[in-house]
Every structure is written in C-alpha cells, then in structure tokens.
Subunit: 562 residues, 2 copies
C-alpha cells in the first residue's frame, strides 16, 4: 500500500456556514466528519490520475447562503389558514427552510447545490404538531388543491421528498417523533413517524425504565442511514436494516399503521395474521407519501440481548464460493445470522487496502491461495437467544469451510461496525475535489445473481477510471441484494445523470429489481412501468387515484405515478 | 369414562350413491370414513340427553339424486363458444355438475343438501385445460358479462365457490394441477393452482428423482384440509397450515403469482425483496377470485428433513399458564417449533376422554395438581436442521416447565398426527343423527386473547347443551389464533345460521379478526365493512372495480364487496 508522501488535503473540519447550501447537502451532524484515510487518498490519486496539486484547492463548496427569490404561490389567506392549524411558529416561508425541507441526499442534489442550483421547492414549510394537525392540513389542502409532500429525515436518495409541484412541505420529524407505547405482551411499539433511529432504539433499550417492561427491546432495523432516518421513512420507502437477514426488512417489521389520506383517516387492523381479504396494512407500505401520510405506526419489536452477539468473518477463495456458501447457509433451516455480508473481488481487494489490514495479511492469504481480485470477504454477526446464536455461528462456519473459506475472526466485523454509520460523511470531502461516490442496489434471485453482477459491473467499469465495488448484504432463502458502489472523478450533473441512468438500464436489462431497499422516489419513476408491466403499474395508479383523486399527495413523478 | 353398552349406531360405511346430494357434501374420499369412537358416542348421548334409540335411524341422508330442473341462462351460442375454447368434453351442463361445482363444505350447505335444498349454481361448468383457456374464457365472459366463479377443491367453508350470480363455474383442479418447475437454486416451485396438497407434497419430496435436485423438498403447508384442498386455494384464501408457526402462513410462502383478470394478465415480480412501491404480489393474495384467476403460482419450498422431526407434549396446570408459556416461547428468539397447539380446558378435558388416554393418566394428573377443567394440553413438533430442532425442543421444554407444565412425551402428538386429516370425516356420521360439529376461528393479539376466548365461549355455552372446545394453533411473537369448535344437536339451517351469526358478532365485539385462515367467502362478507372500517372497505372495492369493472369475477357477496 502506498504510504503518505506527507501532503494531506485540507479536509473540512468545520460545520457548514449557517444558512448555506452546504449545510443542506452535508451528511449527518453539522460537526460530524469522517475523512478519507491516507490509503483512500492514495487510491484516489492513483485511480483518477491525480496529483497532490489537484487537492490543493476545494471547489464549489456550497458555502454561499441559500437565496432563491421565488415568491410563494400560495395566497396570504392560505398561509394564514395553515398558521391557524399549527400555530404561526410552525409555518416557515423563508428561502432556507423551503430548500432544506425539499432536499434529500442524492449525489445529483449535492452536485447542483454546490453550484447554487435549486430545483423545485415547496411554497411553504409546515411542521404539524400531531396527527390531528396533519388531518386538518390534508383536508384543507385537498379542498384547495395544494400539493403536500412529506419530509421526515431527508435521507432520501431518490428525490422522494422533493415538492415537485410546490405547495406544502410537511415536516413530520419536528414534533411527531415520540414513542407512544410499548406493549410487552404483544411485543409491539406504537411510534410516531418522525422519530429518528437512535432515539427510537434507545427508548426501546431503556423500556424497563421508561415503560415498566420486564425486558429490554430493540427495533431490529439498522440501515446505514440509521442515525439520520426515521421510523416512518423506513416503512413508507420499504427500507432494510443491516441485520435484516435475521429481523426482516421494514416491510416485515410493521404491525399496523394509521394513515391520513385525502379520502379519510384509518388505522389498519392489529392482528398477528388475518384472512380477511387483501391486506390493507401491506398495500400501504411502500406508498412513499403518494397515498397519504403515515401518522402512527405500530412496529414489532424484539428482545434486546446484545450480550449474545457474536461476530464472524471469512475469506472465500472466489466470489462464486462466497455466493454458494451464502445460499447454503440461508437454505439450511438452522436459523439465520443477523448481519451477513459478502463483498465481491474488487470490494474485498480495496477493503483490505483501505481499512488498515496489515500487509502481511494479504501476503498470508495469497500464500494460502486466496488471491487478490479473486478472494472475497464475508462478515457478520449472530443475535438472539444465546444458544441459538451459538448454533447459527457454528453451523454457518461449518458451511463456510466446506466452501473453502478460512475464518478471520471477529476483527473485520468489529471494525466494520465502528464505521457502519459514518461512511456517508466522506462524500463531502470527496466532492470538494470533484470525486463522487454513490450507490445503487437491486434485489435478485440466486439464479440470476451472477448475470446481474457481471452485467452491471461491466457497464460501470466500461467508464474509464471508475471503481465499482459490490456486496450482498440482505439475504433470503430465495436470493439476496446486490449493492453497487461506484467512485468516479465526475463533477458535471448532466454527465452523472446519464451515467446513473445507464446503470438503471443495466439493472433492468439483467433482471434485477430496480430497488431492493432505497425505494423509488422520483429518480426511478421513469423505469417503473417497464419494470412492473403496464397492468401492475395501472393498479398502482388506481390506488393512487383512490386515495388522492386530486393528486395532491407527493405529486410529480413519485413512484412513476404521474 | 362411560363404557359401551353394546349398541353401536349404524355409521355409514358405503360411498354415497353416485349422483346423490350426499356425494356432494361428503368430506374427502367417497370410501373414506371415520366414525365416532365409543367415547364420542357416549359423550354425545350424555351431552345432548339422547338415548340409543335416537341413533336407531339415520335421517336426511341425502341419498336422492341431484335434480334441479333449472334451465341454463346462457344462450346456445355462448355455450358453443365455451366449448370451442376448451373442447366439448370440458363443458358440462348437467344438474349434478352444476351443483357439485358450486358447493363447499359448510355446515349450512350440508344441512340443506341433506334436504335437497340447492342454492345458487352456475349455468355451465367449464374445465379449462391451461392458462390460455382461462384467458380466453375470462376475456369472453367479460365481453358477454357472464359471471365466472372459480372452483378448485371445494373445501371452502364460507361459500367461497358459490356462483351467486350464475354464469360459469370454472374448475381449475381438473386439468391445471401440475408441478411445472422446481428451482433448487431459488428454492421455489412453480405450480398450477389446482394441484392438490398430497400430489404437490409428494412431487416435492421426490424432486431429486423428478427434477434432478440434490435435496428433497417440502411445501411446509399442511392445513387440516390438506388432502382435499389445492395450492391455489391456499393462496387466494390466505390459508394456514398446521406447521405455520415455523413455515409461515400461505401468505408468507408465496413467491410470485400469475393472474388472469378482465383487464389483463400479469405475473408479479420474482424477487426475494424489492422496494418498488406497494407490492402487487401481496395485494393479490386473499382476493378470493374477485380480482381475477390465479393461473400459476411460484411458492417457496423448504428442505425436507423428516428424520429431524421430534415431538413433544405438555400438560399445563391452567389455560393462563399455557398461554403465558406459549407467548414466552414465541418471543424468546431461539427459533420456532413447527406444529404448536394449546387446547383450552374443555378441549383438553374432552380430548383426554375421547382419544383413549387411559383412565389412570387422568388420575395421575389430578394427583399432581393438574385438575380436570383447569389443566390444558400443549402438543407439537420441531422441524428443520437436526441441531436446530433439538435446540428449539430443549428451549421450549425449559419454558414449559418454568410455567408449571409436565412433559407427556411424544404419544399425544403422534396420536394427533394420525388423525390430523381425518377428523372432518365424522361430520356426516354426526349429521345423520342431527348433530353438527363446526368451527370458527379468529386471529388475536396476546393482550386480547383471554377476553376473546371468554367472550366467544360464553356466547356458545349460553346455548343449552352446546359443547365448545377451543385451541390456539398458529403462533406468532405478536399473538395467535383461537379456533372454536362447537358441537350441538341442531338440524335446522335457520337456527344454525342465527347461532353462527351470533358467533361472528361476538368475535367482532371482542376484538378478534373475523377469520384467521378460513378466508371470508360470502359468509363473513356482511361483517367486513364494520370490521375493516369504511375507508379500508372502500379500498378493496376500488381494487375490485379496477380488475373487474363489469363485476363478473366471483360476484355476489364474496369478501363483502357487493
């Protein structure tokens, strides 16, 4: 691995200026940073043919204050009415609020905000205090034909909270962020949609103290965006957490939901199972704010037993061996690991170099026949009851070895866990020097995994000097997901859009799901009809029309509906 | 226990006459019988104040040939067209076919058919050869406004295959009953909807030989109707098998589906998970033939490892202890048993007497403090990987003992398994002497279980001389189901309807789901709007209208839609 030559770029260490564009596109806490390591820096220079001088000066940092000069399209009377519903302190018309609560975290948004380019925003930002406020606002906006777009945490990576038709940005995370009830008998938690991951998890962990329960609980859902995403967002976008192989995807963890829609408010049934026709509770999941607004959700919760966790990692000689072993593990009926990931050749190779694995490890592995750009890393953990966790670890280890893997112990997953939520912080540092890192992902059955992997990877690699690292991180007996990470020197938003669009084309062509857990938003909308087929897309449009006959709920391309 | 006094009623031992009403309402194989044991017989006499003389003569056996004298309402041209689609040999107009393929297995249907009372039937019975036939028929019937009601196995217990508006009975089990493909990689099976349980399971068990797979597979779905129900029926009515606690309900086992509807044919996506909006695959489940016709379904399958099965049974001192232990087992995160059942006091008491537990067992239990009409039986098995199964059994045994249970070993579940599919055969024997046995069931959360149990039970027991036995047999971390079995001396269909209607009222009143796994059919339709609420019912009606704008698919009350 290349050693530092002494020069270190001036990675930003200060919170973005208040009111600046950067404060909007920056990931996470204003004072949270994670800089590329020296190995990262050397890799970028090498891959993109850059020299230290290219890192002397940051470009388009987005430090300017947000200024739009766009008058609100709502009338004074409409604004007054909204203020009457929620109180004047919960209505904002200033430029900054209108932009902030219109933006997610896509690369495209970052590229444009750096240049002060602002796309569609709402006319007014409203922070409802509770579900009754939401109901009044939706009724009123429906009568007045004012578009309403929900904003919760803003971690969307597909323009899911972009108010494409203006109107109201409805921010549910400001006030509607409480854990309302824990039912220990039913092992469920009733929670408001705008509650952030850490607050929710902490309250569940502390439920003996807060809710007088016998046991501590966990939510079981830990996406990479955990710290800056909300429970409601997980549900309406069909998210998956890093431990989904054991706990299930957000879809599986929802017990019941309450929605406010233009045609009425309702709560789905609280039953562990029911055979009373198509399940409305499931129909609403993944509706991404286009049918109505999730105002309360009852989630399944799980016993919190961190003391039983055990980590593992393996090196497989090849990607094929890693995939075959993973499939065997998922189909062997001995239970499931919680976190479970396999990295392809390039991700493994770069990972070994980037994450401080001492050089002799690589040499040792090579001597044992685990060759660079062939070997593949697997890491994860087991959770649940202590004996169950032990059994699962023992069983999956046996299968790994059968497929030629060697065990690397707990170090890699421990290290991975430390940075599991902080990786996104690097995006701004890279972007300051014209480098972008982004991801796309797809669900896939086992029988199509290699075809999809090779097809998408070939497209990404066909662009000169473009890195592509892939892993599978959510496992099922029937298949997994493929998560493609690409890194490129690219600063032009149009070029980026064209490149990304090509990736979606490839995912479609090679039979992947257009999204495994990122949702659709407006970004993937144009592919939806072709993906689902016109009959199924027509069904989604009928559902949309049913709930929202005036097309006021998150209109303008969301889910490809309009 | 009362001993036989020598007299044994003349239980029927002959197949019903060909073409008779009885041949339609009889359960299972024409030559299949299971007669009440002596203990059963004595119990009935005692409970219903009957004497041997009341069993001297069978009444309303339904031996008469089916005769209706109802002309078909379809034109000769329409009949000819249907014949042109499927071949004349696959179109039937005779009275017997029209009645047979209109009837399910409700008590009400049995009571009426015994008297030769025939409700709505189709005008013509059509047996499509494949999905292309189905498509032609649905297109044609939609154009001609001819109602189409699907019939597969006819095990419906809620008039789900009653052609309430006449038209076509479309019988999918005659020809569309093949296992088309087993994908070992994906662990899925593509199957036609009309395949019966035993043929499906046998083909999966034999898949090394039939499909050249390495492993044998199981479908994981074993409802009491297993032998006389079909894969498609399981899916569209949201059935649950007896091992659902481990394998999941039919809802969970479906991977993808292909439907023919009046507005088009489509197949849902083949992905283990996808985040592309509301899941059409899930929307179709439970549609009970009202949206369209399921013509192919890809099911998840599971490794078949019968050698790893282990049985268990326990006696708990009380129902409350059995419930609490079951909840603890389901929430402890060590995996799940496959079959898992707990019987309430009355079911336990009658079960001990009816199923040949030697008298000393009862005495022994009572001496140990497990008193009659307090003690509750639990039985089940574990499946899956050998070590996993062992672990689950060991863990649940520990919890059972913590809640005061004593282990009764493998005898009870072994005995239960032997009769698991044959109990329904007794219905005709009982009915011959005016006694009916029927069941209703509900899903329920843990926090509402006792209220529902007591409420429904109190209603059933408020009718003089009515037995009520209850068990829970499908378990989830969030709750279970309650399965109410009632036995009464009652031969009047009107009285029966009123009594049954009262039970649904009580289930509704005490917060149970109207159906846990029997579906809705036309029977529960009238309760649906109140149960779901008008907003959710309106959604189901919108879906119906989307797929079937002319209301030809299973019209006339199914799911309470019209």
């Amino acid at each position: 691995m290349a050693k530092s030559k002494g020069f270190i770029p001036d990675w930003t260490e200060e919170a973005p200026p208040a009111g600046s564009y950067r404060s909007i596109f920056k990931w996470g806490a204003p004072n949270g940073f994670k800089h590329p390591s020296n190995a990262w820096y050397e890799m970028m220079k090498r891959e993109f043919h850059l020299i230290d001088a290219d890192f002397f000066k940051k470009q388009e940092e987005g430090h300017a204050p947000v200024v739009m000069n766009r008058p609100t399209a709502l009338s004074a009377g409409q604004i007054e009415q909204l203020k009457a519903f929620v109180g004047p302190q919960n209505v904002a018309l200033d430029d900054y609020s209108r932009v902030k609560f219109a933006y997610g975290k896509t690369t495209e948004e970052m590229l444009e905000l750096r240049q002060g380019i602002v796309r569609e925003v709402a006319d007014v930002v409203v922070h409802p205090r509770d579900k009754h406020d939401v109901r009044k606002i939706v009724e009123y906006c429906n009568a007045e034909r004012i578009p309403v777009t929900v904003f919760s945490a803003g971690s969307s990576v597909n323009f899911g909270c972009r108010p494409a038709k203006g109107g109201v940005s409805l921010v549910v995370s400001t006030h509607m962020n409480k854990l309302l009830e824990v039912s220990e008998l039913n092992q469920t938690a009733r929670v408001q949609p705008g509650m952030f991951g850490p607050a929710y998890e902490e309250a569940l962990n502390r439920s003996p103290e807060l809710f007088n329960t016998r046991h501590s609980y966990t939510c079981g859902h830990f996406p990479q965006s955990f710290e800056y995403s909300t429970v409601g967002g997980w549900v309406v976008t069909l998210g998956s957490g890093q431990a989904s192989t054991y706990y299930g995807d957000a879809y599986d963890i929802v017990f019941s939901q309450e929605y406010v829609t233009p045609v009425g408010t309702f709560k789905t049934l609280d039953f562990p199972a029911t055979a009373t026709g198509p399940k409305v509770n499931d129909i609403m999941k993944g509706s991404e704010g286009t049918f109505g607004i999730l105002v309360e959700v009852t989630m399944k919760i799980f016993r919190y037993m961190p003391e039983n966790r055990a980590r593992f990692s393996f090196m497989y000689p090849t990607w094929e061996a890693a995939v075959n072993a993973s499939r065997e593990i998922m189909q062997s009926e001995f239970g499931k690991p919680a976190i479970f990931r396999i990295s392809d050749q390039e991700e493994t190779d770069r990972g070994l170099k980037l994450y401080g694995m001492p050089g002799f490890v690589g040499t040792f592995l090579a001597l044992r026949g685990f060759l660079p750009m062939q070997r593949c890393l697997c890491l994860g953990n087991v959770e649940g009851d202590k004996d169950y966790a032990k059994l699962v670890k023992r069983k999956l280890t046996r299968i790994a070895k059968k497929y030629g893997a060697i065990s690397l112990g707990w170090y890699a997953p421990k290290k991975w866990e430390k940075t599991r939520y902080t990786e996104p912080y690097m995006r701004e540092d890279l972007g300051d020097y014209g480098i972008l890192i982004d991801t796309l992902e797809a669900g896939v059955t086992w029988d199509n995994l290699h075809r999809l992997h090779e097809g998408v990877r070939a497209y990404i690699k066909s662009r000169p000097d473009t890195m592509c690292m892939t892993h599978a991180s959510h496992f099922y007996p029937q298949g997994t997901n493929l998560y493609f990470i690409f890194i490129a020197y690219m600063r032009d938003a149009d070029e980026y859009r064209a490149f990304q669009s090509g990736i979606f084309d490839q995912i479609q062509k090679f039979g992947g799901s257009l999204s495994h857990h990122h949702g659709v938003g407006r970004m993937i909308g144009p592919w939806m009809e072709n993906h689902l087929g016109k009959e199924q897309m027509a069904l989604l449009r009928t559902l949309k029309k049913h709930f929202d006959p005036n097309n006021i709920m998150n209109p303008g391309g969301q889910l490809g509906l309009d």
